[in-house]
Amino acid sequence: MATLEIRDLHVTVAEADGGVKEILRGVDLTIGSGEVHAIMGPNGSGKSTLAYSIAGHPKYTVTGGSVTLDGEDVLAMSVDERARAGLFLAMQYPVEVPGVTVSNFLRTAKTAVDGEAPKLRTWVKDVKQAMDDLRMDPTFAERNVNEHFSGGEKKRHEILQMELLKPKFAVLDETDSGLDVDALKVVSEGVNRSLGRTDVGVLLITHYTRILRYIKPQFVHVFVDGRVAEQGGPELADALEESGYDRFLAKA
C-alpha cells in the first residue's frame, strides 16, 4: 500500500513578458494504491500544471508545499528519479522521438524503470499481448515514437507504457481528449486492466465527464483557480455533468 501525498502545493510559471504567474495556490490531495481520483475543472484551473509538477517538468517552479511518495520527497528528485520511484505521467501531447522505434523505446524505458533489462522472452510476449489488448497493429512496434501517430494512437501508446511499466501512481492528463468513443473505450479498458492487475493509484485529469463512464473514480476533486474547490464521490461528477462548472466559476 503506497501513498502519494500532495500538501499545500504552490507552483508558478514564467511568462513570456518576464513575469511570474502563480498557477497552483495550495493543492492538497492524498492518493492511495488502487484508488482512482478524478481531477475535474475548467480550462486554466491548473489541472495540467499539477500533472507536470508531479512529474517534474522544468517549466514549472514549486514555490511552496510538498509532494511525497511513501514519505520520500518527490520534489527533490530529478524527472527520471521520479519515474524510477514509481510515478508515471500519460501526457496529453506526447512528443515525437524521430529515429527511435516504439519497441526500442519501450525496452529502454522498462530497463530504466526496473533497473535491469527485462527477460527477453517474457518481455516480447508481454509487449505483444499489451499491444493486442489495446488493438494496436504489431507493425506499430517498428514505427518511430509518436511520429505520424494519430491522436488515438498517441493515447494508446501512453496507456501501453502504463501497462508495461507498472507504476505505483499514474497521472493521466486529459487522456480522453481527441478520442472518439471507440478509442476512448479501448484506452479506458487499458487503464482498468492496470487497475485490476496492479496496485496502481490513478489521478485522472479531465475536463469532461465522459471518460468517467468507463473508468470509475472513487473520489472526485473539482479544481478551480489553482486549488481544490470541492471534493466528493462519483456523485459530484454526475452533478457536474448536469450543471457544468458555472457554479464554481461564479464562486471563484
Partner: protein, 425 residues
C-alpha cells in the same frame, strides 16, 4: 529538435521568358548560374584561394594551405591505399590516363586540380556488367602525419551491376583525393566515404558521380574525424530515368571544421535526386558547413528533387552554416524543394524520455542515435553502422557532464553563436 527555420518550395510555374523561374541563393552565387563555375584539369586555371571567393568563404584556408600547393617534382605524393574486393572485381593502378580516369571527373577547385596533376598512382575498381557483388568493396586511404598525399579512385560499375563500395579515410597529414564514380545503365551502386581521420588531419576531396540511364546511385559521406574536412560531391546524369541520393552525417567537435558541398546537375529528363545531410556539433569552434546546390536545366523535364539539412547543436560555441541553392530553368518538373533547420536538443523530448525513467545522459544518447539512425542505416552494413554509432556516442559523451547543474547550463543558454542562413530571393 527545435526547428529554427524551414522552407519548402514546391514549384510548378513555367517561366514566361525562358529564363530562370526560381532561384535560391543568387546572392551567394556570384556566377549567373552554378553551371558557370570553372572546371579544369589544369591547376593554373585556379588561383590559390584568398578567402573572399564564394566557394571558399567558410573554409579555414590557413589550415588547408598545403592542399593548394603544386606538387614538387620527384616527391612521392601517393596516398597509401589498400583495396579488398570480391574476386569478380578488377583492381588496377596506374596514372589517371592509364586507368582511363577523367571522363566523369573534372576538377572543380584548386585542391582537386592540384591533386589530379600530382597523382601518379590512381586506382581503378571495376565492377563488371551485370555482376552483383555479395560483399562490399573496401578501400582504405591512410594518410601520414607531416605528409601531403594525393590520389584518384575510379569506381567503374558496369551496366546492371550491383555494388557497395566503402572508402575509409584514416591516419593523419594532409590529403586531397578525387573519387570518380561511373554508374552504368541500370546499375545500383552505393559509395560510402568515411572520414575517420586523426584529430590533426586535413582533407579536401571531390567526388563526382555520373549516373547512367535508369540507374540508382547513392553517395554517403560520414565525417567524424580530422581537423578540417571538405567534401564536394557532384552528381550528373548520363541519361534519363536516373535516381540518386547524396546523403551525409557529420559530428563536429571543438575546433573541428566539417564542410560538405553538393552540386546536383539535372540535364537528363525524368531523373530524381534526394539530398539529406544531418550533423551534430559540440564545443568551442566546432563548425559545420553545408552547401546544397541543385540546378535543373531547361532540358531536364520530369525532374524530382529535394534537399534537406539538419543540424543539432549540442553546446554553445558551435556554428552551423546551411545554404540550400535551388536553380530551376524549366517548369515542367515533378517537384523541387528544400528544407534546412538548425536547433538544439528539444527539452520536451528529453523530458518525455526522462519521465520514462531514463537518466538525462541516456535520453540524449537515444535522441542523437535516433537523429542519425536513418542515414547510417542506409549504408546497409549493420556492423559498420554499429561501429559508426559507437564512435558518435563516444564523441557525444564529451558534451555530457555528469553534474545536473552543468547540464542545465548547456540546455538553457541562448544560441547567440549560432548562425543559420537560408538564402531566398
Amino acid at each position: 529538435m527545435t526547428a529554427v527555420d524551414e522552407t519548402t518550395d514546391p514549384i510548378t510555374e513555367t517561366p514566361a521568358n525562358g529564363a530562370r523561374a526560381h532561384s535560391h541563393g543568387a546572392g551567394t552565387v556570384p556566377d549567373a548560374s552554378r553551371a558557370e563555375r570553372v572546371t579544369s584539369y589544369d591547376v593554373a586555371d585556379f588561383a590559390v584561394p584568398g578567402g573572399r571567393e564564394e566557394e571558399w568563404k567558410f573554409s579555414p584556408l590557413k589550415v588547408l594551405a598545403p592542399l593548394f600547393a603544386v606538387a614538387e617534382a620527384g616527391v612521392d605524393e601517393a596516398a597509401a591505399v589498400e583495396v579488398s574486393a570480391p574476386d569478380v572485381v578488377e583492381h588496377r593502378t596506374g596514372t589517371p590516363a592509364q586507368i582511363g580516369a577523367g571522363s566523369a571527373f573534372r576538377p572543380g577547385d584548386r585542391a582537386a586540380a592540384a591533386s589530379w596533376s600530382a597523382t601518379t598512382q590512381a586506382h581503378l575498381v571495376r565492377i563488371p556488367a551485370e555482376a552483383e557483388l555479395d560483399a562490399p568493396v573496401l578501400v582504405t586511404v591512410r594518410g601520414e602525419a607531416g605528409r601531403t598525399t594525393s590520389g584518384h579512385l575510379l569506381i567503374d560499375a558496369g551496366h546492371h551491376s550491383k555494388a557497395l563500395v566503402v572508402l575509409d579515410h584514416v591516419g593523419g597529414g594532409a590529403h586531397r583525393g578525387g573519387v570518380e564514380v561511373r554508374v552504368g545503365d541500370g546499375a545500383q551502386v552505393t559509395v560510402v566515404s568515411l572520414q575517420e581521420w586523426d584529430d590533426d588531419a586535413v582533407h579536401v576531396g571531390q567526388h563526382d558521380v555520373l549516373v547512367g540511364r535508369d540507374a540508382f546511385a547513392r553517395h554517403i559521406a560520414v565525417s567524424l574525424g580530422g581537423r578540417a574536412v571538405r567534401i564536394s560531391a557532384n552528381l550528373r546524369y548520363a541519361g534519363p530515368g536516373g535516381d540518386a541520393q547524396l546523403l551525409g552525417v557529420y559530428f563536429a567537435d571543438a575546433a573541428q571544421h566539417l564542410e560538405h558541398r553538393q552540386f546536383v546537375d539535372h540535364e537528363a529528363t525524368n531523373c530524381k535526386s534526394y539530398v539529406e545531410y544531418k550533423g551534430a556539433l559540440q564545443g568551442e569552434g566546432a563548425h559545420a558547413v553545408w552547401i546544397g546546390d541543385v540546378l535543373i536545366r531547361a532540358a531536364a523535364e520530369g525532374t524530382e528533387t529535394y534537399e534537406l539539412n539538419r543540424n543539432l547543436l549540442l553546446t554553445d560555441g558551435a556554428r552551423a552554416d546551411s545554404v540550400p541553392n535551388l536553380e530551376i530553368e524549366t517548369g515542367e518538373i515533378v517537384g523541387a524543394g528544400h528544407a534546412s533547420a538548425t536547433g538544439r536538443f528539444d527539452d520536451e523530448q528529453l523530458f518525455y524520455l526522462q519521465s520514462r525513467g531514463m537518466p538525462e545522459a541516456d535520453a540524449r544518447r537515444l535522441v542523437v542515435r535516433g537523429f542519425f539512425a536513418d542515414i547510417i542505416g542506409r549504408i546497409g552494413l549493420p556492423e559498420l553502422a554499429e561501429r559508426l554509432m559507437a564512435t558518435i556516442e563516444t564523441e557525444l559523451a564529451a558534451s555530457m557532464p555528469g553534474a545536473d547543474d552543468a547540464l542545465q547550463a548547456v540546455a538553457g543558454t541562448p544560441t547567440s553563436t549560432t548562425q543559420h542562413t537560408t538564402e531566398e530571393n
